[in-house]
């Protein structure tokens, strides 16, 4: 864990972490020493030696003073470390994540990453602020006292030393039982949580089919399951907790027995025994708290590990200097094989050339590899074998900036920033003039949205663009691509419900883009397919047919079948043909 922490903080902060630890341990030791000084003071006091007691008291005052200083310094250092960790975590993660390939950012990863960056960092910062110091002092102070006992009576000290492994084992056992119980309950809690969310998310369906009122059995089962598992894990943890508690008691009992026996035997100073017992009584308490702190620490460790794992992700290798683009606007895939997991290729030996300023439509069933082709062109990932060339250059020989200067992407999951519509289009090209932004907006049909919105171009679109419909978001995305004016545009046509207006705007925008860029479109709409200069039919990771619409129809293969099915869909009419079927319901 310390290794992971150091990695997150960066090596340059290593010294401050170590400094904090040193002061923390110093504080714990000094506190122990101060405590031990109580013994001679009490000893003299009980023996009636006021002068001696005062002399020892002055030693105690010195020790206490040093302990206070150490306490202050370690508290401040701990805070500095917490701050450093907090900000260096944010920075480190930010710097790192920016360099990761686009392919890394799946929606699941993004969710996890935001979670880690927000609450995870606070959690880790909190470790230093609240957890490490009590943990260290909880262990080191009693240990110091135990060691110091040798100065008073070796037999008592030996009793303590012998008890400590028992204590340690008891705490470990207890912690592992609690941990195992937690794992059980975690799984049940996740199940119940998912069922509750499902119950809320599917409320329409559940209620429509009578289950909102009658109750929904899987949810009921999950809640009951969580209750049962909760009880079971408690029963599991109980012996451990009892053992932990009793181990501390046992240690004290052994000590008191040994002490009293020695005192009765007269072989040890009675006063010393009493004073030492008093001290042990005070410090067996913190030991059992250590077990609790250790649990909290484990939670923090998970966050640390998650973060270290993200930092271990490697960016794609990039040349220092991009090669020169020789064939502007050309895309070429040459014998490309690629899989997300080893041994399961999604694309097999795909070769494809898209000449500059032409439009190519990719068609095929879902899962045939259409999206993967576009993503490899934008270098979300690197191919397993073969080459992807953009503008005549292998994408691996281009820097991210150089590649992105060539390619604009319009995908289905459009992310809009919580900013104005205008600013969201301007993302396409930061230095565009207002006139250019508006022109791009007009061409993509954003103008029409603007007219309906209260604040026009200055309307804020909400986080992730939630206040716009799917079709409207895609229009904004198209406007970005138009504004960017890249030689190549990769477009994943919306499958979502598009109103006739929406559909018309997208078609118009496609024509605009087609007139000045190379277009590679994952096509879902027939007009788009027909308008393409080249149609590529993918099936199960390979190209099965390619050619123009006419050629492929004539070939009467896979494409012709696709075309017939889609044409049939297009001619669908909803009509109550076999009516009237009068229904008599009670």
């Amino acid at each position: 864990m310390i290794q992971d922490l150091l990695r997150i903080m960066g090596q340059e902060h290593r010294r401050s972490l170590i400094g904090y630890f040193v002061w923390c341990v110093a504080y714990a030791v000094l506190q122990g020493v101060a405590m031990v000084m109580i013994v001679p003071v009490l000893q003299d006091l009980l023996a009636g030696d006021i002068g001696g007691a005062l002399a020892w008291l002055s030693v105690l005052v010195c020790a206490a003073l040093f302990a206070c200083i150490a306490h202050y310094v370690q508290a401040m250092r701990g805070f500095e470390v917490a701050l450093t960790v907090l900000s260096s975590m944010h920075h480190q993660m930010g710097d790192h994540v920016v360099g990761l390939p686009l392919g890394w950012f799946s929606s699941e990863k993004i969710g996890r990453l935001s979670q880690t960056l927000t609450s995870g960092t606070m959690m880790i910062g909190g470790l230093f602020a609240h957890l490490l110091t009590p943990l260290v002092t909880g262990i080191v102070t009693p240990a110091t006292i135990a060691v110091a006992m040798f100065f008073f009576d070796w037999r008592l000290a030996a009793a303590v030393i012998i008890c400590s492994p028992v204590l340690y084992l008891a705490f470990r056992w207890s912690a592992s039982l609690v941990g195992r119980g937690d794992e059980l309950t975690d799984a049940a809690a996740v199940e119940a949580g998912n069922r509750v969310v499902e119950f809320a998310r599917c409320q329409l369906a559940l209620r429509a089919f009578g289950r909102g009122v009658e109750g929904y059995q899987p949810l009921e089962d999950a809640i009951e399951g969580q209750r049962i598992v909760g009880r079971r894990s408690l029963w599991m943890a109980v012996p451990g907790l009892i053992a932990g508690g009793f181990a501390a008691q046992l240690a004290f009992t052994v000590l008191i027995a040994v002490g009293v026996l020695l005192a009765l035997g007269g072989s040890v100073d009675t006063v010393q025994v009493i004073a030492l017992l008093a001290l042990s009584a005070r410090f067996t308490g913190p030991l059992s708290e250590v077990a609790e702190f250790a649990g909290a620490l484990r939670m923090g460790r998970n966050d640390v590990r998650r973060m270290a794992r993200i930092l271990a992700e490697q960016p794609l290798p990039e040349p220092a200097e991009a090669v020169v683009v020789s064939a502007r606007g050309e895309i070429e895939l040459d014998g490309v094989t690629f899989g997300y997991e080893p041994g399961r290729p999604v694309l097999r030996d795909v070769s494809l050339r898209v000449p500059p300023r032409t439009m190519t439509a990719l068609v095929g069933a879902s899962g045939s590899g259409k999206t993967t082709v576009t993503r490899l062109i934008a270098r979300f990932w690197d191919v397993d074998s073969g080459t992807v060339r953009v503008g005549g250059a292998d994408v691996r020989d281009l820097t991210t900036d150089a590649l992105m200067a060539q390619v604009a992407m319009v995908f289905q999951d459009v992310y809009l920033f919580d900013d104005t519509l205008e600013a969201n289009i301007r993302v396409g090209r930061a230095d565009a003039t207002d006139a250019e932004v508006r022109k791009a907006g007009r061409l993509a049909g954003v103008q029409e949205i603007v007219e309906r919105l209260p604040a026009g171009w200055a309307t804020r679109v909400g986080e992730g663009g939630t206040s716009l419909s799917g079709g409207e978001r895609q229009r904004v995305s198209v406007a970005r691509a138009i504004l960017k004016d890249a030689p190549i545009v990769l477009l994943d046509e919306a499958t979502a419900a598009l109103d006739p207006e929406n559909e018309r705007f997208v078609q118009d925008a496609l024509r605009t883009l087609q007139s000045r860029s190379t277009l590679l479109v994952i096509a879902h709409k027939l007009p788009t397919v027909v308008a393409a200069d080249q149609i590529v039919v993918l099936d199960d990771g390979g190209i099965v047919e390619h050619g123009t619409h006419g050629e492929l129809l004539a070939a009467d293969g896979r494409y012709a079948e696709f075309w017939r099915e889609r044409s049939r869909a297009r001619g669908w009419r909803l009509a109550a043909e076999n009516r009237p079927r009068e229904r008599t319901e009670s």
Binding site: I50, L60, C68, Y72, L83, V271, A365, E501, A575, R583
Partner: protein
């Protein structure tokens, strides 16, 4: 709940609730906590009693040690008496462990029980909320309340009462004992507390305000992080990664420096104040005082030693209490969120429901508003005759989805009435209503269960043959039989459906439920371009012979329906058949022209 979301007229946020003063809020939170904890009040009381007894037992060793000292230091030593004292000390310790352990066990079991009770209350309540609520509130909020907030109560229910009781009874009992020995020793034992209390009070000045600022700062950095992370693909694609990255960094730095400016002075005081409670300082004061008192002859050395022992226990409990207060604050705001959810008004259900006669659907002077100020629908009157198909068309924001969802009572009308079989939907019992009105909307809701269970959702008693028949009619049977477990495959695990396939499962479900009235979103048909034709066939089968209200997006689909209703700005502007409306050369004719142009 796409229906409401795709609409331009997404519900405006409710008028902001009046902001509570911190004190009002605290009172509300306390009330919320008490209300939620009621089912385990008995158990908690029992645990508190056990904990108090345990804490008292915990005093025995300290007093016993003093006793032991007296016995050992005053010869002749009575071995039997010493042994008895030792036994008492050990028994006291054991009893303390046992009682505190029992107390914690009681509250932990109570906590498990309470969690289940609260989850059931929440889900029972969710089942009675208006359906519209679910489109306005994300499922994330439900998860937060049902999972995280309930878990946050854990510390309070399972630990707080017991630990606080122990933390109060032990030092108070010990102090009383010390005072009983000598009042001066009593004062000595709490000598450092005033310093801590004063410093703590000073630290807490304007705490709430600072805390609010801190929360705002935290929310800002969270937003910056979420935006940075979610938008990173976009900014990278447009070569603006560095800039967005800079915005993120500055948000992180702002937060860091604010946090540091706020916490640093507090921490300095805290670090100094907590010294007042640290064992070494307490020891110095107690021993110093003791030496003086003994020298003055006010107390015996053994009494002084007892004071030292007990004085050193007090600080640990004070710290425990300040941790406890923090935990209580967290739990209190969680409790408030839970209670707020539980207090969301339910959809009113008629006390004496009426039974509709027939399946004629009637909208009579319907007005509707999401926010109470702007009407989304104005004075709509419309009759859907049994066995006919009526299509709603209109531009985005015309109110067609809102209108359609009033029939299955997702929301209640603001004025006017929606009637089925002559009875106002508000007078129909919910289960009766949903036996009559079904819907197939864009947003497919499949449950994580077997395919068969999903299809038979509306009719749990349906036979396997009926399920198969419905799946066949919905064009999904062949796909299901190809799954590893066929009809017993679990959706989301073995059965991974594409959008269109999921849509067909939901159509099979609607077929089996066989409701006479059906609300249909035509966009359903093009959820998945790969299986569009199959969905359309399924929809045609489903629509046949029912009273259908269809939300139409593509005009070609609905040219054959019995009646087309054109909505604009929440009003009916035209209605009639395709032929009639085309001939009328009005709004519909213009839309038709645009549509034909777009499709070409």
């Amino acid at each position: 709940m796409t229906t409401a979301v795709t609409e331009r007229t997404a519900p405006a946020p409710l008028p902001a609730a009046p902001v509570d003063t911190p004190r009002q809020r605290a009172r509300k939170e306390a009330a919320a906590l008490a209300e939620l904890r009621r089912p385990v009040r008995g158990a908690t009381m029992l645990a508190v009693v056990a904990a108090a007894l345990g804490a008292v037992a915990g005093l025995v060793p300290f007093i016993g040690l003093a006793q032991l000292a007296t016995q050992l230091l005053a010869p002749p030593v009575d071995g039997g008496a010493v042994l008895l004292t030792v036994w008492l000390i050990v028994a006291g310790l054991g009893l303390r462990g046992l009682l505190l352990g029992t107390a914690l066990a009681i509250t932990h079991f109570a906590d498990v029980r309470l969690q289940a009770i609260l989850r059931r209350r929440i889900t029972a309540h969710l089942g009675k909320l208006p359906l519209g609520w679910f489109s306005e509130n994300s499922s994330g909020r439900v998860r937060k309340v049902a999972q995280n907030d309930i878990t946050e109560l854990h510390h309070l229910v399972a630990h707080h009462s017991v630990e606080m009781t122990a933390a109060i009874v032990l030092p108070v009992g010990g102090l009383l004992y010390v005072f009983s020995l000598d009042w001066r020793l009593g004062l000595l034992a709490i000598g450092t507390l005033p310093f801590y209390a004063a410093a703590y009070a000073w630290m807490m000045r304007g705490y709430q305000e600072k805390m609010d600022q801190m929360n705002t700062g935290y929310a800002r950095i969270s937003a910056a992080i979420v935006e940075f992370v979610s938008g990173i693909a976009v900014v990278k694609a447009y070569g603006r990664a560095r800039r967005s990255h800079a915005a993120y960094r500055s948000a992180a730095d702002d937060f860091g420096s604010f946090y540091s400016d706020w916490v640093r002075p507090m921490l300095t005081i805290e670090a100094i104040a907590s010294m007042a409670l640290s064992a070494p300082i307490v020891a110095v004061l107690s021993l110093g005082g003791s030496i003086w008192f003994v020298a003055q002859g006010w107390v015996t050395p053994i009494e002084a030693m007892t004071e030292v022992l007990i004085a050193m226990v007090i600080p640990t409990t004070v710290l425990a209490m300040s941790f406890g207060a923090q935990a209580r604050r967290t739990a209190a705001s969680a409790a408030l969120r839970i209670v707020e959810l539980l207090e969301t008004p339910e959809l009113p259900v008629a006390a004496q429901p009426k039974l509709p006669e027939g399946n004629r659907v009637e909208l009579d002077g319907v007005r509707f508003s999401y926010d109470g100020t702007t009407d989304v629908l104005h004075d709509i009157s419309l009759v859907l005759e049994p066995g006919t198909i009526t299509a709603l068309v209109g531009p985005s924001g015309s109110g067609k989805s809102t209108l359609a969802t009033l029939v299955p009572r997702f929301h209640d009308v603001t004025a006017g009435a929606v009637r089925i079989g002559g009875v106002d939907v508000r007078q129909i019992a919910p289960d009766e209503l949903y036996r009559r009105v079904g819907f197939v909307l864009q947003d497919v809701q499949l449950l994580r269960g077997t395919v068969a269970d999903n299809i038979r959702l509306g009719r749990p008693d349906a036979t396997d043959d009926e399920i198969l028949a419905a799946a066949r009619a919905a064009q999904i049977h062949d796909r299901i039989t190809k799954l590893p477990g066929g009809y017993t495959a679990v959706i989301g695990e073995e059965a991974l459906f594409s959008g269109g396939e999921a849509q067909r499962v939901s159509i099979a479900r609607a077929l089996l439920a066989d409701t006479p009235v059906l609300v249909l979103d035509e966009a359903t048909a093009f959820a998945d371009p790969e299986s569009e034709a199959a969905i359309q066939d399924a929809l045609s089968t489903l629509a046949a012979g029912r009273t259908v209200l269809v939300i139409a997006h593509r005009l070609t689909t609905i040219t054959g329906v019995d009646r087309i209703v054109v909505l604009d700005g929440g009003e009916i502007v035209e209605q009639g058949t395709h032929e009639q409306l085309s001939a009328a050369d009005g709004r519909y004719a213009r839309m038709w022209a645009v549509h034909e142009g777009g499709a070409r």
